[in-house]
């Protein structure tokens, strides 16, 4: 392996990521399954980095799941996205920060469509005006939230309370990075580092002290694939895609997986449980599962956020062994305790307990 070869590619795919003033659009899946990730992203941006990031409660789903499930037409999704741009315009923001990789892919697809077929932009303006009376400006920049964390990765490293190493050995943790397909496979120029060797997560992991594993199925889809999962009869495809990845990464004994896509984080976490239930197989070291973390969760751990505040207790594959390796202490009593002192629901069948 020649690291300089990757650096040469990374240098070719650098995108403009603004320094400040973002209009944030959330993710349907993440609000449901990884709500802590979005919350901690906003906290890191506002409290740790001192950035201005705004969200409008009137913002809706981008309808991406329906679009990729063939039930929402392209004209409709363009109008929905145009409405989000209208909310950003109204609030005076020109930089969109997108939580979801599916949404990010949709926004980039729409912007490219408008660029190459300007008549579709005019048609969308008409559709939005007729439907809502709104107008909009096309944003100046589109960033995925992982782009923004990537941009400030060294600043986060300077504020870090923990790094990605094993405190008992001092060695870097071995990390598998998984990039959502819709981040840069459709339009490599919108992704940090392009499509074949994306740098966005590698940059974070290396800045925070970890080592990246380059394994044969690194590029392979997690298996979400919308129609693969949404249509129950196709779920075997989804499961087999994740399994292929796990089998490929297993010999490297990864400490955890970091992902930047809601579907990937969810399925790579949940399918480990499913495979374990079906076949009794685990893919991590010592017969354990491999924790799957979002990049905000990893940033939060590095910055010293309480793992329970990040929501790690709601992952199928639990991270307690990983936290121990990093030297992060948790209070078991607070694991399922809400901030108001009430008890949170306790999931069953968790791995790595």
């Amino acid at each position: 392996m020649k690291p300089e070869g990757k650096k040469r590619i990374w240098a070719e795919y650098q995108k403009e990521i603004p320094d400040d003033h973002f209009f944030y659009v959330r993710s349907c899946i993440r609000q449901t399954f990884f709500a802590g990730s979005e919350q901690v992203f906003l906290k890191i941006m506002r409290d740790d980095l001192g950035k201005d990031i705004f969200e409008d409660p009137r913002h809706t789903t981008c309808t991406g799941i329906g679009y990729h499930g063939d039930v929402v037409p392209f004209e409709t999704i363009q109008t929905v996205v145009a409405r989000h741009f209208s909310l950003a315009t109204e609030a005076g923001y020109k930089n969109i920060a997108i939580s979801c990789v599916t949404s990010f892919g949709i926004y980039t697809e729409i912007l490219e469509t408008w660029k190459h077929f300007p008549e579709t932009l005019e048609r969308t303006r008409e559709d939005l005006l007729k439907a809502t009376g709104r107008t909009f400006d096309v944003p100046e920049t589109i960033s995925h939230a992982s782009d923004i964390i990537y941009k400030f990765r060294d600043e986060i490293a300077r504020k870090a309370r923990f790094n990605l190493s094993d405190i008992s050995t001092g060695k870097p943790l071995k990390v598998v990075e998984h990039i959502g397909c819709h981040y840069s496979k459709m339009f490599p120029k919108y992704g940090v580092g392009g499509a074949e060797f994306p740098h966005v997560l590698i940059g974070m992991v290396e800045s925070w002290g970890g080592d990246i594993i380059d394994y044969p199925e690194r590029r392979h889809c997690c298996g979400f694939g919308f129609r693969q999962y949404l249509i129950q009869a196709n779920r075997g495809y989804s499961l087999s895609a994740s399994r292929k990845k796990f089998e490929s990464m297993e010999p490297y004994r990864p400490d955890f997986i970091i992902a930047n896509c809601p579907g990937c984080s969810m399925f790579m976490d949940r399918w480990q449980y499913t495979i374990n239930e079906i076949d009794g197989i685990t893919y991590g070291a010592d017969g354990q599962g491999i924790p799957v973390l979002t990049y905000e969760e990893v940033a939060g751990l590095v910055l010293g956020y309480d793992p329970w505040e990040l929501g790690l207790q709601y992952h199928n594959v639990q991270s307690l062994p990983l936290l121990k390796r990093m030297g992060i202490r948790v209070d078991p009593a607070k694991r399922f305790l809400a901030k108001d002192g009430s008890r949170l629901p306790e999931p069953v069948g968790l791995m790595n307990e």
Binding site: M1, K2, G5, K6, I9, A195, E196
Partner: protein
Amino acid sequence: MKGASKHVIVAGGGVAGMEAAGSLAEMGYRVTLIEKGQDPGGHLLQWHALFPDRRPAEEVRGYLRKRLNHENISVITSTVVEKIRHHGHDVIVNLSGGTEERADAVIVATGFDLFDAHRKEEYGYGIYDNVITAAELEEMFSMGKVAKADGTLPSRVGFVHCVGSRDEKVSNNHCSKVCCVTAVKQAIEVRKMLPACEVFCFYMDMRMYGPYYEELYRESQEVHNINYIRGKVSEASVNISNRLVIKVEDTLAGRPLKMEVDLMVLMVGMEMSKQGAGLAVASGLETGVNRFLETGDHHYGNNVSRMKGVFYAGTCTAPMNITDTISHARAAVTETVRYLNGR
């Protein structure tokens, strides 16, 4: 001797330029050959053996060197022709370094560049240790040893055809013509050097267009047991043993294929040379959609430019093999002489 006072500049000292210069000198013209490298010879300098008969490349290099060894030929090396313009009866050539040369005619023979394999990022050239180009394999043949980066011998080698050719993603729709037969030749050479090594060729079509190419292809299968799989390699990576893992769509079997290889050879195609492209822009010479120089007529004016007194020889106009390049250079000389005689 007829034409002895006439001066022709040949821009480029590869196969076409050397042959054109030799032919013109033989006919009594004064020739200045301008070569960007330290020595004439072009890409042939890096080649060990040639298809279809696997003769040593040195034999053809020797022939071309002899062609240049003529009193009517001056060779200027480490110099680039930057611009050509027609002025009165003369053609004025601007050279790197700021000098000018005057001639009665110019033959452009700026050749081709090999496709830069870094651009096909999915193959990991420049990243994975054992992904090499056909030109680099040829250098291994010259050194007498085909080996992996760690010096050990490969037990399985894969050849990937059409790297940078017939590929819309890299804006090259053209076929480079010589890569298929080069892969067949190199595959045989690998098997002869390493009889225990398995060899696979991953191809779109086998374009065996030249004399004895089909025979070579047949021999490769019947005698040397080369395996041919119709399908493009979609990506390469390495496993924990640093062995390359490639994914291929086998379009005949109709199924995806995953295979480990020790060495992957990229059959890089031909592109218009950067020097030729720069010269074309600076001089107002037309280029085609394939970015090679556009000739006056594809059928009967294939050596003629649209600038008076300027002619084309060899792969600056399109990919071609050595045989065709030499023929094309001779035809360029014929057109040049006809022009000079008719002035």
